[in-house]
């Protein structure tokens, strides 16, 4: 089997997609963003609880392919505890990593580096970036709280 395929669907990704972390709603979220990929019908809602400039809780609900589910699961893990500035930096880093523009070494990112395999699949990049665009919308004042990949 080709290495690129096993690289994309590595155990860590499959674990997250089968058993997504933080797969729940937040009762009293400070931010809630619906994200939709009209290309494939994936939809998810990202919930954040931001207090005093820090993400104290993050979760998501929705349905989608293994890549979009794993990406959202990892996002919620990673963004918890981040300051707003750190969260914005994380978005930038992931955006570069997933789209293959000026990428950092995947090892810098811990678990998130596992998503780098998506770069070899231009048609699947939007699956991985879906939840990250939801994060960016949540962090950006005045952005619509509804994002699509199109």
């Amino acid at each position: 089997m080709s290495d690129e395929l096993t690289d994309l669907y590595q155990e860590l990704i499959l674990d997250h997609s089968r058993h997504p972390h933080n797969f729940r709603t937040i009762d009293d979220p400070s931010h809630m963003v619906d994200a939709h990929n009209p290309l494939c019908g994936d939809m998810l809602t990202l919930y954040l609880r931001i207090e005093e400039g820090r993400v104290v809780d993050a979760s998501f609900k929705g349905r989608g392919c293994a890549i979009s589910m794993a990406s959202a699961s990892m996002l919620t893990d990673q963004v918890k505890g981040c300051s707003l500035e750190e969260a914005a930096d994380l978005f930038e880093t992931m955006h570069h990593l997933l789209t293959g523009t000026g990428s950092p070494e995947p090892t810098d990112l811990g678990e998130l580096g596992a998503l780098a395999g998506v770069r070899h699949y231009p048609m699947r990049v939007k699956c991985a970036t879906l939840s990250w665009h939801a994060l960016k919308a949540a962090l950006t004042e005045g952005e619509p709280q509804k994002v699509t990949t199109e």
Partner: protein
Amino acid sequence: MGLDRAAQCLPAATRTSRWDPGAVRRDFPALQQEVRDAPLAYLDNAATTQKPQAVIESIARYYRKDNANVHRAVHLLSARATAAYEGARAKVAQFLNARSAAEIVFLRGTTEAINLVANGLGLQAEEEVVLTHMEHHANIVPWQLQQARSGATLRVLPISPRGELELEALQGLLNARTRLVTVSHVSNVLGTVNPIRALVNIAHERGIPVLVDGAQAVPHLEVDLQALDCDFYCLSGHKLFGPTGIGVLYGKAERLGVLPPYQGGGEMIRRVSFEGTKFADPPQRFEAGTPHIAGAVGLGAAIDYLQGLGRAAAAEHEQDLLRYAAERLREVPGLRVIGESPDKVAVVSFVMEGVHAHDIGTVLDHKGVAVRAGHHCAMPLMDFYGVPATVRASFAFYNTREEVDRLVEGLHLAREMLA
């Protein structure tokens, strides 16, 4: 290029006595390649078909030798371009058994054809259009735009879980305010062949015209418009082994005759003055501006190719592939086929328990098998089956049983990796 290339591009079936996919495949340059270190198994024909060399060459030849604008100049090239363009129109008319070439309008594709009719009807607030639950977005959204403009009502003919129209419900949806029934001939997701003649009869009893979206039908079925008796029929060249950007609206002469122009410009007028303009008769009335001449030429070449191929033998081969695929897909655990009408073309949609369609599509791509994964521009149909997306394998006469085997192998792999 002394010898006419067309002579070397005769369809394979005319060269062989029995159906030989290997020979047919040699007519299609795109099928000769490897993708991801495997021979390409192209099973996405409902999205678009590959083009035979005869089509590619006809377009190149047109640009090399005959290129000029149509219906305009007195010079020889313009005469040749006009003959080629109008010749293609005559071919389409004969291919579909229309009464006359004047009933054939060249447009960009099925979507534009439906939009033209939807715009032209001039729907009023109290009026109604009936469509079906299995329509492609191209046969839903143009009507919704008119609904938004006019306040007209859309009524939806239901389908059964097997993926067939509930035709007995049609009578109850029709009334004195119904302006049109619009329906796909073949579902792009389910593969179901709809009973158009029976549906037309029901609508015509009340004097209601019927539009048929034939985009998915013409690649598989021999379509006889006079036998179907529908009022409008739409198709796309690129799904019929022809080029993109060219399509057809057929309309009965009396129906096209009362439709207003869709766009204004050159070609569609009889006389223009600042006091007012007289429009040309159909089909020119609907072909404002320089048309896609090379596209029409390519579509004509595709029709020539198909007719030379022997359509009955091609259809028989496709039905064999459909039966074989249905049988082999049953071997894959957790796989559910969507669309189980006994009257289907070679299109198979399915879902796999625990694995998203997009992930299956990527695994198959890795084995060189090209399928479509997604909602297939039929989201209401996805909702009906309660799935966000399906995988769709859609076959053409150049596909093989071996490619079905590779599809099934890929599905086993996807299941092992991802389920």
